[in-house]
């Protein structure tokens, strides 16, 4: 099947009325969670996963993906108007976006952020379409050792990019691997660490874990303080950027797109890191770097393009290798498995309708977001004015319903509350939860790949370094792990931006 036929097939699927509806719902909810501080795409996707059980797999994936890239659009609105990032990838947008708003240029800031998101999001999908199929074909040659090394590399990159000491991030990953091993052993069906609780036979659910660690823990942290948000009181006008604005932003958008897309592909990379890198690059290439932070439009356009392009890139390892690049993709992987799909190299060949339908729906979703977002800015501003003390009980209620309706089980709810408390303590003691989630999801796959590899090699761990692809991936992991021993590398990592848990 050539590209043209595939794209036509994709649009035939994506343009079905029910898929259009779910795409619309996804991007709308995504924008909403992006706008609302304290509720990111990770929590929103986990929350809404149970609601997709009654729809077709392709509609479910279209909606859940829409939430992810929709959140990237929405996050900038809060950054620009309130100076609080709506979600983690919009942290950088606060710097110049809010300053633009203070100077009476909230309209162009919101406008260029929407257009940059649209351009980068669309180009990111083009990249995804071009790279994913050949990569999937190549991945067919991967055996268990390559998969094992790839997953180890993903975990290593994520721990490398995490904020704080690396031992803490690695410890979180190891703890995640242990949590992932709870339940029935995939190979022998022996129950492990289940404490005779039937609900634990299937393992610790990713949804209660994510909602607890990100949703509940975030609320617990927020209620510790009396939060008063001030929405920038100004009449928002001239949303369409001027010719001058376009001239200033165009290259920033294109650079942000390329940076975001390629950093998005890397396991452990993603939207947050790419927005920071894009901002740093814009500052570096600018003739007026001293003006950054005082309302430069490039400081909004570049990072917003980068975080949207990264969403397209992040789908590549998931759809072609079955390996999630970040926590959001980890949840999408779980969602696809719930719907009976196995993401990986065979997905393009076995379920072309689903693959191409999901990919082409992202074009439609990006257009919907552009059309929706500018007229709806007034609505988002009104939602932002809802006081947090009224909002947080609803966030908690959605988490409770989401956890309960997975299996109609109170145990799942208690697991979620337990993870909420754990997440709260992690924040207090400065441990990042993102490596834990990625390891929790990858755990069972990683274990299967490890045991199969050792079976293949008659117990020799050398199989991971003697096979070329696996060896290269392992070498990258070793280099990243060895960094604390090299002082100049350690200094470099120290200036890396903090990667938020929402990634």
């Amino acid at each position: 099947m050539d590209y043209l036929q595939s794209i036509i097939l994709g649009f035939q699927v994506a343009l079905q009325w029910n898929n259009l509806l779910f795409c619309f719902i996804g991007v709308l909810i995504g924008t909403l969670v992006g706008v609302l501080p304290g509720l990111g795409p990770v929590a929103a996707i986990s929350l809404l996963l149970p609601t997709t059980f009654h729809v077709t797999p392709v509609s479910a994936i279209i909606m859940l993906a829409g939430i992810y890239y929709g959140a990237m659009y929405g996050g900038s609105t809060t950054s620009i108007l309130v100076n609080i990032p709506g979600e983690a990838a919009s942290v950088v947008t606060c710097l110049d976006g809010y300053q633009m708003a203070r100077k009476g240029r909230a309209g162009p800031a919101l406008g260029i952020s929407a257009f940059a998101s649209f351009i980068a999001g669309t180009l990111g999908v083009v990249g995804l379409m071009l790279i994913a199929p050949p990569l999937a074909e190549m991945a067919l040659k991967f055996g268990p050792p390559e998969y094992f090394s790839m997953m180890i590399m993903g975990l290593t990159i994520l721990t490398f990019l995490a904020s704080g000491p690396m031992w803490k991030a690695l410890l979180m990953a190891a703890f995640g691997l242990f949590l992932g091993s709870i339940g029935l052993d995939n190979m022998t069906a022996t129950a492990r660490f289940t404490m005779d609780i039937v609900e634990l036979s299937d393992g610790i659910g990713m949804v209660p874990a994510v909602m607890g660690l990100f949703g509940i823990a975030e609320v617990l942290l927020n209620v510790e303080h009396s939060i008063k948000r001030t929405v920038f009181e100004t009449k928002i006008q001239h949303l369409l950027p001027t010719l001058r604005d376009w001239k200033d932003s165009l290259w920033a958008i294109l650079r942000g797109t390329v940076i975001g897309f390629f950093l998005g592909i890397l396991p452990g990379g993603g939207a947050v890191i790419s927005s920071f890198v894009s901002y740093a690059v814009e500052k570096k290439v600018s003739k007026n770097p001293e003006k950054f932070g005082a309302g430069m439009i490039q400081g909004v356009a570049g990072p917003e393009a980068a975080n949207n392009a990264a969403t397209g890139g992040a789908f590549i390892p998931l759809l072609t290798l079955g390996i999630p690049a970040n926590s959001v993709m980890a949840i999408l992987l779980g969602a696809m498995m719930v719907h009976g799909m196995q993401p990986g190299p065979m997905l393009v060949q076995e379920q072309p309708g689903l693959f191409w339908g999901a990919v082409t729906s992202m074009y439609i979703g990006n257009i919907m977001l552009l059309v929706l977002n500018l007229p709806l800015i007034g609505l988002w501003v009104r939602i932002l004015k809802v006081p947090y003390p009224i909002l947080f009980p609803m966030i908690l209620l959605f988490c409770l319903i989401g956890a309960y309706s997975l299996n109609n089980s109170v145990i799942e709810v208690l697991i979620m509350v337990g993870f909420g408390l754990l997440g709260y303590l992690f924040k207090k003691f400065e441990y990042e939860a993102a490596p834990l989630i990625l390891a929790l999801v990858l755990g069972p796959m990683l274990e299967a790949a490890l045991r199969r590899s050792l079976l293949l090699s008659a117990g020799s761990p050398l199989i991971f370094i003697t096979r070329p692809i696996s060896g290269i991936l392992m070498l990258i992991s070793v280099i990243l792990l060895a960094y604390p021993l090299v002082p100049w590398l350690r200094r470099k990592r120290a200036i890396l931006p903090q990667v938020s848990d929402e990634e």
């Binding site: 803490k168 091993s181 209620v223 003390p389 609803m394 908690l396 109170v410 003691f429």
Partner: protein, 154 residues
């Protein structure tokens, strides 16, 4: 003796967790290397946790010698509020089946609105009943989630 700092306390707890996981894995059997057993991966994970925590303990002890002290994690925050929220969440989980979704949700939302950051009573009453009915309509009636019914049938 100087007071332990946060990372030292955290690392000590993690060492205990790691050792417990590794020992717990032994009863599932590690198996030979050419055919790893059920306990193999959790054993490795437990050892890794204990090892990394030991590294953390060593590093934080070195930091302690340079003056890194215990930072109270609840200083300057309204810690009673998270406590109230956790209590409400646990109560909700335990009472949602006996009381049913609607009544339990009204009580839960009402409690949070009144106890955590006190709202006026009309806001509490309208907010709790409205949220419960709205959630029931969306999740139970529209999305067909099977939310628990109390003895009163709702």
């Amino acid at each position: 003796m100087a007071k332990l700092n946060n990372d030292q306390v955290g690392a000590a707890i993690w060492i205990a967790v790691g050792v417990a996981v590794a020992l717990g894995s032994l009863r599932y059997g590690l198996g030979p290397l050419d055919s790893p057993g059920t306990g193999f991966l959790p054993f490795l994970a437990g050892c890794a946790i204990a090892l990394l925590a030991s590294i953390g303990l060593t590093l934080s002890t070195l930091k302690q010698r340079k003056g890194a002290e215990w930072t109270p994690i609840l200083r300057g925050v309204l810690w009673r509020k998270p406590l109230l929220v956790i209590a409400a969440l646990c109560a909700y989980a335990l009472l949602m089946k006996p009381l049913g979704f609607l009544l339990c949700t009204v009580l839960f939302i009402g409690f949070l609105l009144r106890a955590v950051e006190p709202q006026r009573w009309p806001v509490v009453i309208v907010g709790s009943i409205g949220t419960a009915l709205g959630a029931f309509a969306i999740f139970n009636l529209w999305l067909k989630a099977q939310l628990p019914q109390g003895p009163w049938g709702f």
